[in-house]
Amino acid sequence: MSAVISVDHVVMNFRKNKEKVDSLKEYVLKSILRKLSFDTFTALNDVSFEVEQGEVMGIVGLNGSGKSTLLKIISGILKPTEGRVSVNGTVSPLIELGAGFDFDLTAEENVYLNGSVLGYSKKEMEEKLPEIIEFSELSEFMNVPIKNFSSGMVARLGFAIATITRPEILIVDEILAVGDFQFQKKCEERINEMMSGGTTVIIVSHSIDQIKRLCDRVIWLENGRIRMEGACEEVCLAYENQGV
C-alpha cells in the first residue's frame, strides 16, 4: 500500500487584519501613516499524517480546531504557509455540495456545469446522467431551474454528481448531515461501495456514530494540532470522554 495523501509538517497561518484594508486608497494612507498591522492566527500547526489507498480517514475535533482548513488544504483550495501536501489522484471535494451550481439554470444544465467544475467533460457526464438522475431521485425535476429546489434536493443532486464520477479520492465535509435519514443511509451506502472499489475517503463529521460506522482510522484535531491519531474505536472513545 502506498500513501495517496501525505501531509508533511503543514502550518497554516491566517492574517487577522485588525481593520480590513481592501482598497488602494486605504492601503496607501495607512502605509504612509504606518498604521498597517497584522496579527497572525495559526489555524494548523505542524500537522503531519498519511492516508493510504482505500483507507477511510475520519477527522474529528471541536469547532475551530482546523478541520475544514485541513480539508481545504488537501483539496488544493488553500496553499499551506509552510510544509508540503502531496496528493496522488483525482480529488472530488465535497466541501459544500453543489459548488458552482447556477441557480438560474435547470438541474440538467447544472449537471454539466458542475461536472465541468470537477473537471469532467460533457461526454462523460452524458454517460453518467441516467445514473445521477436515478440516485438523486429527481427524474421529474430535471428541467426545473434549481432555484425552485428545496435544500435537500440540491444536496441530493450535488452528492450524486460528486460521487458518480468515481474519483480516486473523496473529501467529505459535514455534508452527510443534510437530507433525511433515508438519504443519509443511501449516501453511506454509496461511500461504502466506493471504498470497496478502492476510493480513498476523508470524512469530517460531528456525528461520532457516523465516523464509527465508516472510518478505519481517525485523527483528532485540537487547536490546530493533532491530539491523537489511531484506530477508529480508540480515538472516538477518547474524543467522547474528553472533559468528562
Partner: protein, 445 residues
C-alpha cells in the same frame, strides 16, 4: 527557482537595454534629422511660396500635370526638406535649384527625390546649397495636397517608438519566453494537461454568460449588432458635422475603432471582477483560477464577432471599396485579444486585494479612449502628441485594423513586431502577477 527567475529578469533587462541602444542607433541611422543639425533651420510658410498651376479643390489644393512650388531666397545649405503637408501620393518629385541670385533654373541643376515618411510627414533629402528652388510634382495629376509649410533642416530629435518596440522589446520578450520554457519545461506538460481538463468548464461558463446575456431580451443577439450601429450613427451625426474631420467613410472609421476598443474594455472590465465573482466556487473547489479571466475574454471575443457584423453591414451600406487585405482582419484582433487577456489577468489579480481599482480603471479607460484615435483622425495631433500616442498599445491595434480594411494596407514587419511586443509584454506580466497572487485570492475574497 527564485534565483533562476531573478537571473532571467536581470538578463532580460540587460537584453532590453542593449537592444534599445542598438535600435535607437538603427533608427537614427536612417534618421534624416541627424545630419540636418549642422545646418540652418528655416521654416517657409505658404505665404512665402509661389504656387503655380494648382486648382483649388474642396479639400485643399489639387495638383495638375505641371504644378510647381517656387521657393525664393532660401540662401542656405539644404540637407532635408520636410513638407508639413498631407500629400496623397507617393510619386517622385523633381527639384530644380539655383546657387546664385542671377541664375535661372536649368536641367543641369535638378534632381529627382522620393519621399521618406518620417513621423508621418514626407521628407526629402537634398544635400546641397540652394539659393532658390522649384519643386515640380511629376505625374501627380489630380491628387490632393494640403500644405502648411516647408521646413528646411529640421532637427527635432526623434526616438522612433515603433522601432524601439519592434527591435528591443520584442526580442526581450522572446528571450523571456524561451527562458521560461527552458525552466518550466518539465512542468509545461502538466499545465497543459490541467488546462485541457478544464476546457469544458470554460466553454460551459462562456455558454452560461451568453445565455444570461441574451435570454432576457427579445431582440437577443441582434442587440450586439444594433448597439454599435446606433452608437456609430450618433457619433457620426455629431462629429462629422460639427468638427468636419476630413475622413472618408467616417462612420466606418469610427465603428472600427470603437468596436476594437470596446472589445478591449469588455475583456479587461469583465476579467477584473471575474475572480471576485467566482469567489463562491474558488472557496469550495480547486479550479485553476486563470480560467475566470480567460473565460471573460472569450465571452468578450464572441460578443465582438457580433459587432463585426455591424462593421460589415456599414461597409455595405456606405459602399466603401474593400481590398483583399481586409481578409487579414483576424490578425489585429488576435493581438488585441492577447494584450487584453494579459491586462485582464493583472487587473483581476490586483482587484481582489484592492477593490477600488475597479473605479480607478473605469476613469482610466475613459481617458484612454481619447488617447487612441477612435473618434478623431490621427492627423489632427501635433508631432509631440503623436509620439506619445505611439506608446499606447491600442493605437497600434486600431491603426492595424483600419489599415487592413479601409486603406488596403498590410503593415510591415516593424509594425507587426511592435504589436506583438506589447501583446507579449502584457501577457507575460499578467501571467507573472497572477501566478504570484493566486494562492492568496481565497483568503481575500
Amino acid at each position: 527557482m527564485r534565483g533562476r527567475i531573478f537571473i532571467i529578469a536581470v538578463m532580460g533587462i540587460i537584453i532590453l537595454i542593449l537592444t534599445s541602444v542598438y535600435s535607437i542607433r538603427l533608427s537614427s541611422a536612417d534618421n534624416l534629422y541627424c545630419k540636418s543639425m549642422d545646418y540652418e533651420n528655416k521654416i517657409i510658410p505658404t505665404s512665402d511660396m509661389e504656387l503655380e498651376n494648382f486648382d483649388e479643390g474642396e479639400d485643399g489644393l489639387v495638383l495638375k500635370e505641371s504644378s510647381s512650388i517656387y521657393l525664393h531666397n532660401i540662401d542656405t545649405y539644404v540637407y532635408t526638406m520636410r513638407f508639413n503637408a498631407k500629400i496623397d501620393s507617393d510619386k517622385a518629385l523633381k527639384i530644380y535649384y539655383t546657387e546664385d541670385k542671377e541664375e535661372n533654373f536649368s536641367e543641369g541643376k535638378s534632381f529627382e527625390a522620393n519621399y521618406n515618411i518620417v513621423n508621418g510627414r514626407p521628407v526629402i533629402i537634398a544635400d546641397r546649397y540652394m539659393y532658390s528652388a522649384r519643386i515640380d510634382f511629376i505625374d501627380n495629376l489630380g491628387t490632393n495636397l494640403k500644405i502648411s509649410s516647408i521646413e528646411l533642416n529640421d532637427y527635432s530629435p526623434v526616438i522612433d517608438i515603433e522601432k524601439l518596440l519592434a527591435f528591443s522589446l520584442f526580442p526581450t520578450m522572446v528571450f523571456i519566453i524561451a527562458a521560461a520554457v527552458v525552466i518550466f519545461g518539465v512542468k509545461l506538460n502538466l499545465y497543459i494537461n490541467v488546462f485541457r481538463k478544464y476546457v469544458p468548464l470554460i466553454s460551459n461558463l462562456v455558454l452560461r454568460d451568453l445565455r444570461v446575456k441574451y435570454r432576457r431580451s427579445i431582440l437577443g443577439f441582434l442587440w450586439s449588432i444594433l448597439n454599435p450601429l446606433l452608437m456609430a450613427l450618433i457619433v457620426n451625426a455629431v462629429f462629422s458635422h460639427i468638427f468636419r474631420f476630413s475622413i472618408d467613410y467616417f462612420i466606418v472609421y469610427y465603428l472600427m475603432g470603437s468596436v476594437l476598443f470596446n472589445f478591449m474594455t469588455e475583456c479587461t472590465m469583465g476579467s477584473m471582477l471575474s475572480v471576485i465573482y467566482a469567489g463562491g466556487l474558488i472557496k469550495k473547489v480547486y479550479i485553476p483560477k486563470y480560467i475566470f479571466p480567460m473565460q471573460k475574454c472569450m465571452f468578450a471575443f464572441i460578443n465582438m464577432l457580433f459587432s463585426i457584423t455591424a462593421i460589415i453591414a456599414m461597409i455595405i451600406i456606405t459602399g466603401m471599396p474593400v481590398t483583399w487585405s481586409a481578409l487579414l482582419f483576424p490578425v489585429p484582433l488576435l493581438y488585441t485579444a492577447v494584450f487584453s487577456l494579459g491586462l485582464g489577468l493583472i487587473l483581476s489579480a490586483l482587484t481582489v486585494f484592492f477593490r477600488d481599482i475597479e473605479h480607478l480603471y473605469t476613469v482610466f479607460v475613459s481617458a484612454w479612449i481619447y488617447l487612441t484615435p477612435v473618434i478623431y483622425p490621427e492627423s489632427i495631433l501635433t508631432d509631440a502628441l503623436r509620439n506619445i500616442m505611439r506608446l499606447n498599445p491600442m493605437y497600434y491595434y486600431v491603426t492595424y485594423f483600419r489599415g487592413l480594411v479601409m486603406y488596403g494596407e498590410i503593415p510591415g514587419i516593424s509594425f507587426n513586431l511592435a504589436c506583438a511586443a506589447y501583446s507579449l509584454l502584457f501577457l507575460i506580466l499578467g501571467m507573472a502577477v497572477f501566478k504570484k497572487c493566486q494562492d492568496r485570492f481565497v483568503l481575500y475574497i
